[in-house]
């Protein structure tokens, strides 16, 4: 191939801030792509991935400007094109598939029309031919009942379906290059696995080149042949995906890969120190200096350039580091640490919290229910039903399941924010009142919550000092001085300095904010901490640090955790026992080692199979059907509609029995344990080998 499909040369883009100076977001990026190539672009949030991806379509967000360099598509600089010629490239030669399809589709237009307009514009289709092609495209992305679906509006589709529509829209103009900006972020793991398979399939059948932007190494591993790593707006490493994964050269790549929790190891990876520079915090020399163990005077004064590593057997592996030889020589990176090592697991610990046959519903009551019925609002189904579980002192019970499975609902009920409709909750051997208000004051400090998003859970108008003051003032008789000292000590415990006391949440990074939220919970000296997706909003590079912090505090303080998460790798690292929840019903519960080995409940099995591990070429083996569940079925097994192992009408009609697979390990399924054992493979050991 003489001419590359895409050539980016020394591209620098920036924004003008309100203070008037330029802030560089993409910095001196050079990169090329051949026809049919699939290139993954990873990096932490805010490093400029989206900004870069959009420049391939000649697009800059408001205020943006190209400061240097060029983006050439088949030799033509897209930023030199007059608007009408640029428009003819967009959608037809280069198409974009957006991150959040639900906000990227126009709410007032039917999805069919939004696809059709691309076909009309770029391919000149009309009439019956046009209609036929729209249906074809929708079928190509495996959407059901396409005849009816074309006439729907975006809000009438599920997240996964919307993402498929967006993909169909991107494919409509038969582009040579697709820019995919986090196309699966925010989707459930099963849906994500389906979409990733679809993308691979499209790539194979159409030969379209793809730039796949993501922060998720696992997703990229499933789709891409080549990987570029972005840090602070620069490409720091670029090579074949097998090479980069097997043998990362740049310290940042090594840190990033090393911080991804893996299904195949029971431990937690090493977190990276520090945080990326904010745009505009440009210093001379290498941007990675503050976080780099190999940094020296050269790094501080001279900008490294992206250069080939020229190692034998490797095709074009580029790195931007002065000392990559030294880095490589330092041996393999990424130590996994077992958080549980050294802790003696006391299996006989006494029960702390016991939930018995708890039902929770968001249905209205009394007059409001009557009004709702009269208005014709459908009666909401019981969100959580027959929920029975015990959390022992000092243990971590993980609650896993897809979004909407009722995980947070259970946490809210335990916290006393949402009274259950039926069932019983005991805490420390005593009946626990159903609302916070009705619980005795000395009870309050014993149960604490940490939320998913620290931006929302910390009051933006309070300083860290005020935030930590609240539980201290409420629960303990302390004077101002005592509280101040205690706050300082708490910050030390979460590895922050007392300097943070005067800061507002807006002045801290995501990881720092989450540490403050952890400190606030532990200020209360709780017996039980409800951790609701506490690391989901964080970059992987800081996630490990927060998890390690939680594990350490538990060892010191002996608090029990209800650890809610959708991430099975994280759960494996931190949990003692796991409960798998589907539609508010427990499918499987047991010690962590038993959950991650056969026999699995069919739902657990599909979840594990769907997790994208950062292993190039890996593919999901067995997946649950990608259908949207509006509400749980009235009878039978809750998983019946999506179960790939469904055995017949018994699943629809009869509640599955609780089968005891090992001590404390219960699987609720009609398939006998023996049969499950025989038909299932060990997904964990499987996921660590590539299956090309």
């Amino acid at each position: 191939m003489s001419q590359k499909l895409l050539e980016v040369d020394g591209l620098t883009t920036g924004f003008r801030t309100r203070a008037g100076q330029f802030v560089q977001v993409v910095r001196n990026v050079s990169l090329s792509m051949g026809r049919g190539e699939t290139l993954g672009l990873v990096g932490e949030s805010g490093c400029g991935k989206t900004t870069f991806g959009m420049t391939l379509l000649g697009h800059l967000r408001p205020g943006g400007q190209v400061l240097a360099g060029s983006v050439r598509f088949e030799g033509v600089d897209v930023f030199d094109l007059p608007p009408d010629e640029l428009a003819s490239i967009r959608g037809q030669r280069v198409a974009v598939i957006p991150q959040s399809a639900s906000s990227a589709l126009t709410p007032t237009m039917r999805v069919g029309e939004q696809i059709a307009e691309v076909l009309t514009l770029h391919l000149g289709l009309a009439g019956a031919e046009l209609e036929e092609r729209v249906l074809e495209l929708l079928a190509q992305v495996h959407l059901p009942q396409v005849d009816e679906l074309v006439r729907r509006f975006p809000h009438e589709l599920s997240g996964g379906q919307l993402q498929r529509v967006a993909i169909a829209m991107g494919l409509a103009g038969r582009p040579e290059l697709l820019v995919l900006d986090e196309p699966t972020t925010g989707l459930d793991v099963t849906t994500q696995a389906h979409i990733l398979d679809l993308l691979r399939e499209i790539q194979e059948s159409t030969g379209t080149a793809m730039l796949y932007i993501s922060h998720d190494m696992g997703a990229i591993a499933r789709v891409c042949d080549r990987l570029a790593v972005m840090y602070a707006g620069e490409i720091v490493e670029d090579g074949a995906i097998d090479d980069v994964f097997a043998d990362p050269v740049h310290p940042y790549t090594r840190g990033l890969l090393g911080s991804v929790p893996r299904l195949s190891y029971a431990g937690l990876p090493q977190a990276m120190a520090g945080r990326p520079p904010a745009p505009g915090e440009d210093a001379v020399g290498c941007a990675f200096v503050p976080r780099c163990a190999f940094a020296d005077e050269t790094c501080r004064t001279i900008d490294p350039a992206l250069e080939p590593t020229d190692r034998k057997g490797k095709i074009r592996h580029l790195v931007q580091c002065h000392h990559w030889q030294r880095v490589v020589a330092s041996g393999p990176s990424g130590q996994m640490r077992d958080l549980k090592a050294g802790l003696d697991q006391d299996a006989e610990a006494e029960p702390l919290l016991e939930l018995t046959e708890v039902d929770i519903t968001y249905a209205k009551r009394g007059l409001a229910a009557l009004v709702a019925r009269w208005r014709g609002e459908p009666e909401p189904p019981t969100t959580v039903s027959g929920f029975t579980i015990t959390i022992h002192r000092g243990e971590t019970l993980a609650l896993v399941g897809e979004s909407g499975s009722g995980k947070s609902t259970i946490a809210r009920t335990i916290a006393g924010l949402l009274p259950p409709r039926a069932g019983r909750i005991d805490f420390g051997g005593q009946d626990l009142a159903s609302t916070v208000e009705s619980r005795p004051a000395e009870m309050h400090h014993r149960i604490q919550i940490i939320f998913q998003n620290p931006d929302a859970s910390l009051n933006p108008r309070h300083t860290v000092k005020q935030i930590l003051d609240a539980p201290l003032r409420l629960y303990f008789e302390m004077d101002g001085k005592g509280r101040l000292d205690r706050s300082g000590a708490l910050l030390e415990e979460v590895r922050l300095t007392p300097r943070y006391l005067e800061r507002h949440p807006g002045q801290m990074s995501g990881g720092e904010k989450q540490r403050v939220a952890v400190a606030r919970a532990f200020a209360a000296e709780p017996d039980l901490v409800l951790c609701d997706e506490v690391t989901s909003a964080l970059d992987v590079s800081v996630q490990a640090a927060v998890l390690e912090l939680l594990a350490g505090l538990q060892a010191d303080r002996g608090a029990a955790y209800l650890f809610i998460s959708h991430d099975l790798a994280v759960v494996r690292a931190i949990a003692d026992r796991v409960a798998v929840l589907y539609q508010g019903r427990i499918c499987e519960v047991g010690p962590v080692a038993d959950i991650y080995a056969p026999p699995y409940h069919p739902y657990t099995e599909t979840l594990l199979a769907a997790v994208p591990e950062p292993v190039p070429g890996a593919r999901a083996q067995l997946l649950a059907k990608d259908v949207q569940e509006a509400e749980p079925p009235a009878r039978g097994c809750c998983f019946q509609r999506r179960c790939p192992r469904r055995i017949g009408s018994i699943c629809d009609d009869e509640t599955p029995p609780s089968q005891l697979a090992a001590e404390g390990h219960v699987i609720r399924c009609h398939i006998p344990l023996e049969e499950l054992r025989e038909s299932q493979v060990d997904l964990i050991s499987l996921s660590s080998v590539a299956t090309h």
């Binding site: 967009r90 126009t106 709410p107 509006f153 103009g173 208005r375």
Partner: protein, 316 residues
């Protein structure tokens, strides 16, 4: 859909009932009853007693409210105290005149403000926007009587184009009214355009910076299609409710303008009624305005529900 309309109607009826109670209470229960209010300083015990007797003011308020409401529902608002004619007759022509004024003002305001708002949003922070936005702040800030007075000074005193004040009777033919309605209409258009315009501008900016407009651009669609097919419906939908508020303002908040130009509409009549403590007249006009307000909001809700696919399927 039918259910929704019925539900909205019921809510409107509830609102109107509360309005009726409040209007009645405010005119009736404030210190001093009609009679003292009517006679003012010249009240004599005998006169008061006679009047109370005549209008049944000695009966309990609830009883009088029930009677007033049931009469009002049948279109009978009693007799004006100052004119001794049925309120309905006094009102009907003035209502026509006010509708003429408000309707004309709306006719200019809605397209003008929407257009300018969208232009300002499209050309955000550029010259057209700066001019339109600053102009709208000036228009919005200047009290109606100031705009009116300035118009009189320039257009009728200076240029002699229009009569400065109306000297016609309320039942004058529309053709005769037309020259007189020009300046009040211009005043109202200037004052009310500013609000609508600013709202439309904000909505336009939000829609234009939305992901779906960016996506439509990245599909390579021509700018015109992006603006008219993708953005415009989403700009206009939320505008409908604001237009309803503005309409009810134009039909019910015009007394200052009507007084400035001595225009024979409801507002002018209301101010007179207030001066004369003409309670039946006040009650009738206040209720009429509230009905219009509720009616326009109801209309806007129904129109939006009908047009917006999200609301349509949400509310079945």
């Amino acid at each position: 859909m039918v259910k929704l309309i019925v539900q909205r109607l019921i809510f409107s009826v509830i609102t109107l009932t509360i309005v009726a109670i409040v209007v009645f209470a405010m005119t009736d229960l404030l210190p001093g009853d009609w009679a003292t209010a009517y006679f003012g300083r010249w009240a004599t015990e005998a006169g008061l007693a006679a009047m109370r007797e005549e209008y049944g003011l000695n009966r309990p308020a609830t009883e009088r409210f029930a009677e007033w409401l049931s009469n009002a529902l049948q279109g009978d608002f009693g007799a004006s105290l100052s004119r001794n004619e049925p309120v309905v007759e006094l009102i009907s022509f003035r209502l026509r005149n006010s509708l003429l004024l408000g309707g004309l003002a709306a006719l200019f305001t809605i397209p003008l403000a929407t257009l300018l708002g969208i232009i300002a949003g499209l050309r955000r922070d550029r010259t057209p926007d700066v001019i339109i936005s600053t102009g709208s702040i000036v228009g919005m800030s200047t009290p109606e009587f100031v705009i009116g007075t300035l118009l009189i000074w320039i257009l009728s005193v200076g240029l002699g184009l229009f009569p400065s004040i109306t000297l016609l009777n309320p039942d004058a033919p529309i053709a005769d009214l037309l020259p007189n309605v020009v300046m009040p209409t211009v005043t109202l258009t200037i004052a009310s355009s500013a609000y609508l315009l600013r709202m439309v501008r904000t909505i336009t900016i939000n829609v234009l910076t939305s992901d779906y407009v960016e996506m439509a651009t990245l599909k390579g669609l021509p700018r015109a299609r992006v603006v008219f097919r993708h953005a415009l419906p989403n700009i206009l939908l939320p505008t409908i409710n604001i237009m309803a508020l503005m309409l009810s303002g134009l039909l019910g908040g015009t007394f200052v303008v009507e007084v400035v130009f001595n225009y024979p509409g409801l507002g002018r009549a209301l101010v007179d009624a207030v001066s004369f403590r003409d309670v039946p007249m006040i009650q009738a006009i206040a209720l009429l305005w509230a009905v219009m307000y509720v009616f326009f909001n109801l209309g806007a809700d129904l129109v939006t529900t009908f047009l917006d696919p999200r609301l349509r399927s949400l509310r079945g």
